[in-house]
Symmetry: C2
């Protein structure tokens, strides 16, 4: 049970089939596996073996894909770095993980130069781009061409395969250690859950550093599908690639789905070959998924719920629940049910299972649950206490096993002693037709502790007053949950590298000088 097995099998059963396609550069599985063995040889010569770390800071590409196989083939551990970090955060991740090698592309040469002298462990920098090799770096293609192919190191089972950092700020960021077993078992859960089939065509549009796209690197290879790449998500580039390569399958976070399905001219793009779209990583506004079901009516939508610590898939809500009529209408608002290899229970603060329908912490057990946090034994013990991963997400399970995520525990607003789930308020705000984007946060309030505050961007050409929007909410949810104040903004929301709205950024100006931690 090890990641490179899938690559070798793909070479055996479909050696001449398409493995990767990146802007016209297409390679077969035989070519891809040959390149991975050679890059592994090059990495071993640079000291990557026996669990040594090799990090990557780059946009999506076919070489990023090869990296995910070359590092374990050499015997090393991959460390994909978030592309939205500030330089001090990048330095923290690289130093904390003790990465000896850094893969970098043109987009991050600037950030790397800023870090001169701050990287304590990086000995070699490998340039992934196609331009002239920058000073101080090794050229990816040159060292690959010069290397002898390595034998597969055959690390597997409980050996660490990769370290995926969560969060972004120096003090808080934790490296999630995922083993070969974690990632292989996740793929084996993903494949039947999303109906992955041999020959599927996957677009890597979500950032590859993030485990949400990572599941597709390994899962798509296990079923011997084809990998297509765009460097980063934009609605234009995604729609173009979806149509051109007749993509069948992909994963998008809700903000990306929102941008795709509201993009001007989307109706004219041929998306008829899209069979399966999974979405997740943050709450999906109902109006967005309803619009998506209109725009791509034959596509099967899956609401996926997970977290990095679970490698990541925990539960999913399939296309049979993405319907507007009948007994299953609206069920897509749930995170679905535990996927086949995963156990989910809802615990109270003492780790006792709560009755169905009662909110508690969503906890997870299974071969997909992380080994722990890198160099953080106390945080590991706390997160994994009693053998269960404590997700930090509040939620409940209904009588039929559907899981409803009410909020990140940290995004819950406590106002006048009442728990208010920001996701529920956001859903109400989003139902106003003038709203393009919104985020609901708690801000300091002398009387209530916290007050509900909505940050809203309107659609182009729309007008709306604070009073109108608050009144709109009063028609949908209880009065104590409605925003007390609204801030309208013209700019897009600040997003994390994974495309989640960064509520920490939105909270900051309100909480300066107060005690509460904002993230």
């Amino acid at each position: 049970m090890y990641l490179t097995q899938a690559l070798k099998r793909a070479m055996q059963v479909n050696g001449q089939g398409v493995a990767t396609h990146d802007h016209g550069r297409q390679r077969t599985w035989a070519e891809c596996a040959g390149r991975v063995a050679k890059m592994a040889g090059a990495l071993q010569a640079l000291g990557i073996h026996d669990g040594e770390r090799a990090a990557i800071l780059a946009l999506n590409s076919d070489r990023y894909f090869e990296y995910f196989y070359a590092v374990p083939w050499a015997g090393g551990v991959f460390v994909p770095v978030n592309t939205r970090l500030a330089p001090p955060e990048i330095a923290y991740w690289l130093n904390d993980s003790g990465s000896r090698v850094l893969f970098i592309d043109d987009a991050f040469l600037g950030a790397w130069k800023v870090l001169d002298g701050q990287l304590e462990t990086v000995e070699h920098v490998i340039y992934l781009g196609d331009g002239a090799t920058p000073e101080g770096t090794l050229n990816y293609e040159e060292i690959l061409a010069a290397a002898a192919p390595a034998e597969d190191a055959l690390r597997g089972y409980d050996d660490i395969a990769g370290i995926f950092y969560t969060g972004g700020t120096t003090g808080k960021s934790k490296g999630v250690m995922l083993s070969h077993r974690n990632l292989v078992c996740n793929s084996l859960n993903v494949i039947p859950s999303f109906n992955f089939k041999p020959g599927l065509r996957w677009l890597h549009a979500a950032p590859m550093f993030h485990i949400a796209d990572g599941l597709s690197v390994f899962g798509v290879t296990m079923v011997v599908g084809e990998h297509y790449f765009i460097p980063a998500f934009t609605p234009e580039a995604s729609l173009e690639a979806l149509e051109k390569h007749r993509i069948t399958t992909g994963l998008f976070v809700p903000t990306m789905v929102n941008m795709l399905v509201h993009h001007p001219g989307v109706e004219k793009v041929d998306l008829s070959h899209l069979e399966t779209i999974a979405y997740g990583a943050s709450p999906m506004p109902e109006s967005v998924i309803m619009r998506a079901m209109e725009v791509i009516p034959d596509c099967r939508f899956h609401h996926a719920y997970g977290q990095t610590e679970c490698a990541p898939l925990v539960s999913q809500c399939g296309p049979e629940y993405h319907v507007v009529d009948g007994p299953n209408a609206g069920r897509f608002k749930s995170a679905g049910k535990a996927v086949l290899g995963v156990e989910v229970r809802i615990f109270d603060a003492d780790d006792n299972e709560v009755p169905r329908g009662t909110v508690g912490e969503i906890c997870v057990r299974g071969p997909n649950v992380m080994l722990g946090y890198w160099n953080k034994p106390e945080e590991t013990a706390a997160a994994l206490r009693n053998g269960w991963m404590h997700s930090g997400d509040g939620g409940y399970m209904d009588e039929e096993g559907f899981i409803y995520v009410v909020d990140r525990v940290k995004d819950m607003i406590i106002s006048g002693g009442e728990n208010i789930y920001s996701a529920e308020v956001e859903d109400a705000v989003h139902q106003h037709p003038a709203v393009a984007e919104c985020a609901v946060i708690g801000i300091p309030d002398d009387k209530w502790g916290e007050a509900v505050h909505a940050v809203v961007r309107l659609k182009d050409g729309e007008n709306l007053t604070e009073t109108d929007l608050i009144e709109h909410c009063h028609t949908l949810i209880a009065g104590f949950k409605c925003p007390r104040s609204v801030a309208f903004r013209d700019d897009a929301m600040p997003l994390s590298g994974a495309g989640k709205i960064l509520k920490t950024e939105l909270r900051k100006p309100y909480w300066e000088g107060h005690d509460k931690q904002v993230n």
Copy 2:
């Protein structure tokens, strides 16, 4: 990663759905899991915990299904006993495994009484039937009703889940130790390979003691399908159950498929709901699978290849290759390609990979490969040498990764220095329209070492001479492969409990007084 997780998940996500249905006795997943927890409590009280063995000798039933979950829930190891064994063989299996508990049904009370005084370790016998409780046994329903539900012992990963014996004769029989990981990983390979879906309806017609049906016990539960039972395969009972319960999915060995699709009146049975049939465990004559594709034209056929030591699935050849026209025509004759979690290579006698197209030994690696043979460290080391399971099957792989099994190494006939694969000769014999069943074996020959000999049963009312049949073969295969002699018989072939033709029995009369081992 442990077997009972699937049962608990089925209870969580579909508690009121059908779990088991046995001749009108229907139970939900909530009821089934509740009964399993209570039977586990009863078993613990009888000494089954911490790896203690509990054997079963019974025909198929819903209680047999519960046994497969109650034993690991208690912390024990299941030992399903072949229903075709002679009493001394049963005694050997029970004593060799050190089983403390034996589950038995009405069909085997006679065999058990014969063994009085010969069972060295069995302390308790549990009666599975619905009749009066036989003396010296405990009644299954009574001890279940009286027991307190046990906590799941949570054995998993590399803990032994079960011991499955291969072969039948005392001296040769080996207990294959399969771990929880082996069986869970096999299920995760089976599910996408055979397109198992939630809600499928599976008929347990093949004997449940055999790993070929065992894959369905665990795999069907993982996707939360429904389990239907007939006590043992007959074409009549199978066709009746397939129609009545609108079965969607099943597994049959080739001899069963042969009996089903040639059964008088099969055309009148409604089999339109049959979506998937897997077949395997012995070679499938081409004429039989062609007939099956005629009789159930909308069914998706999968040729499965595996062995007990691999838990069992190794490769499969799917419905896209069960076609008579186009580039994939006839590909169903192959064993297909390695399934997604399994590595297959063809090795020579020194464990070097042979070129594509060259016959060698089929070898397997992956998380599905057994822990070893129970109490047989030397045989274990030989079978698992260099980290690969040596299957004992001769075969080759073509350029596209298709695996062709040419014969069991032990069924290969060596005549005049030529290797002759009995399966190839059987295929030629079977193409004669008068032939109902055939088996080809090597018999002693002073000149050639071994001579090719065919044992044949003709269809009712057919006539055929030895000369005619040999001439028929000459039109299809090389002269040195054709039978030198033919024995016609009226009786059905002797079958193993798994429905394979027992060539050992057929060889015996010819080899008495000779050196060669016949099995």
